[in-house]
Symmetry: C2
Subunit: 333 residues, 2 copies
């Protein structure tokens, strides 16, 4: 079917998703929360955060709340997690009844410990079919239309297929999956592990250590997922280990880069103050530690990241402590 | 207990393993299949393949077959897979009865399709307890005593614990695991996926594509493992996804590097002729394709690597074909 999609958000993922939808020949509109940003983007067609990327004129840009939803058949949420609630509180009244919402946000809301689609459902009600779109998608590569895969996860298989079709361009391969909870949780928690991976880079501890961390990190986020009712399998698929790998190894990743600077001894406040984008893993670490406590799940890497971010522990001490924990039988999931 | 170990082989993994055992305070001897190599190594204490690495005088070096096994309590097999049979046919008669054998080789023998420990057992008999030692262990990093983890897999838990103790040095963390089959198979098959990962690097296709390949590659080697009786879990642990990640992403890896040169258009024969070390993934690809056929397991990435290595398919065509296969529901294991 011919879709008309609106993307709520004007960050990197919003723009590269719009690029694919436009190339697919579907109508697509990008909504920016700030009218000035929308006007600048509509004029320049360039994003300050995506080098050499030009947004085609086929993509409509708007800063108007009501107009954003005119005639849309699909809505894509691409707002940083901690801002989803306020954005949807503002937009909710304009949302057409029953229109499906696809979320690409990767985080967990502080205090409520809700996933992006849970926050949205709490505000806009339960009559919108939900889908999570996730995977190893460094935006700088998608901006160059380099090949990538994603998972469209929804309890509504029909909606998963629509998202598959919406993004059916030569450089994307979309898999469907019915474990929305697992896919959304994997996308959020991998950012915490990526912070730790970056620290290993910053400490110069090497790829053996980073790969061990990736494996042990995967085991602990899968354990949390299983405790929350997700399928373990999901964590070992494209939206799990695939996304985790690219986030831990790509030099472009924001969370990895933030971790690397922490590993080199910089202060979190200084890094965040200089960053033009949100580092999702930082607030998500707080939420994940609380989720793990609530569900009695052991997450030593996440706890170490928390201690480094918020309790003044040095990355070197934390990594040494992780490496010297009592040797034991390997336990997965 | 105080061990006296002999390492059969003088490659990179043999030397860095000897280094750890010596540092642990256990007696250790390295056996080289060539008397001249043993003499050169004993004199120089340097390896041509490990920059800035010096083998301590505490490590005895020998090229004598019978002397190699004098008073040993443990034997470590570190011979490239396709040479294990001939080496052990030569050494077998000197092996003391009942002494345990730990294998660090990562491959599958051509034609017989046997794993390293199966080849050894076929030659030396069934009365030697077996252990597989595997994990993300780029030798260049271990040579610098950078932190790493490994899995000691054995049906004999007692032997797993002895290996844990043998390598109990500050830069290593050894996990025990009872799924020897899974750990050994994961170590072999990840080299095939690493060849494909290198091709993606050579083609400049990016980290999103490489991470998707890692996830889909993991799914297909896990599927083979399950069909052969391994635990699926093992593939999602340190010796599975951990080793796969370091092999796909570390610039040092031989299999990844070989794949990268293939991706850039070089010919396999030229690459192998110039390489001073064995590229385990190349013969292993042949064995894995046959194993998959025999057990009716679908392994599209492995088949693509086979087509590139042995059937003159271009890496670009193969990757494009993989990316454009019919979109479908994600399936793990």
């Amino acid at each position: 079917m011919l879709e008309r999609a609106v993307i709520i958000g004007d960050g990197q993922m919003a723009l590269v998703t719009a690029d694919a939808i436009a190339e697919r020949g579907m109508a697509v509109r990008v909504w920016s929360p700030f009218k000035e940003d929308a006007a600048a983007l509509a004029r320049s067609r360039l994003s300050p955060r995506l080098k050499d990327f030009h947004i085609t004129e086929a993509v409509e840009i708007t800063g108007e709340d009501a107009a954003a939803f005119s005639d849309v058949t699909l809505v894509v949420n691409a707002i940083p997690t901690q801002f989803i609630r306020s954005v949807w509180q503002r937009l909710g009244e304009h949302l057409p009844a029953g229109v499906p919402i696809i979320s690409v946000s990767k985080g967990i809301e502080n205090k409520t410990l809700l996933r992006p689609t849970q926050v949205i459902a709490e505000i806009v009600g339960e009559d919108h079919p939900l889908c999570v779109l996730s995977g190893p998608t460094i935006a700088a590569e998608l901006a160059q239309r380099m090949p990538a895969t994603m998972v469209a996860a929804s309890a509504d298989l029909q909606l998963g297929r629509r998202v598959q079709d919406l993004l059916n361009v030569p450089w994307l391969r979309i898999y469907t999956n019915d474990d929305l909870l697992g896919v959304e949780l994997a996308g959020a928690t991998k950012n915490v592990i990526a912070l730790a991976a970056g620290m290993i880079d910053g400490l110069g501890a090497g790829d053996n250590a980073k790969s061990a961390l990736l494996a042990r990190g995967l085991a602990e986020i899968a354990r949390l997922g299983a405790a929350l009712g997700a399928r373990l399998d999901t964590f070992f698929g494209i939206a799990g280990v695939g996304d985790l790998a690219t986030t831990c190894f790509s030099p472009e990743g924001r969370n990895r880069t933030c971790g690397e600077r922490l590993g080199r001894g910089e202060k979190l406040q200084d890094i965040l103050a200089e960053s033009s984008s949100v580092v999702e893993g930082v607030p998500t670490t707080q939420s994940v530690v609380e989720l793990a406590e609530r569900h009695g799940v052991d997450m030593p890497i996440t706890r170490a990241v928390h201690a480094i971010l918020f309790e003044d522990m040095s990355p070197r001490d934390a990594i040494t402590e992780l490496m010297s924990r009592e040797m034991k039988v390997e336990q997965i999931g």
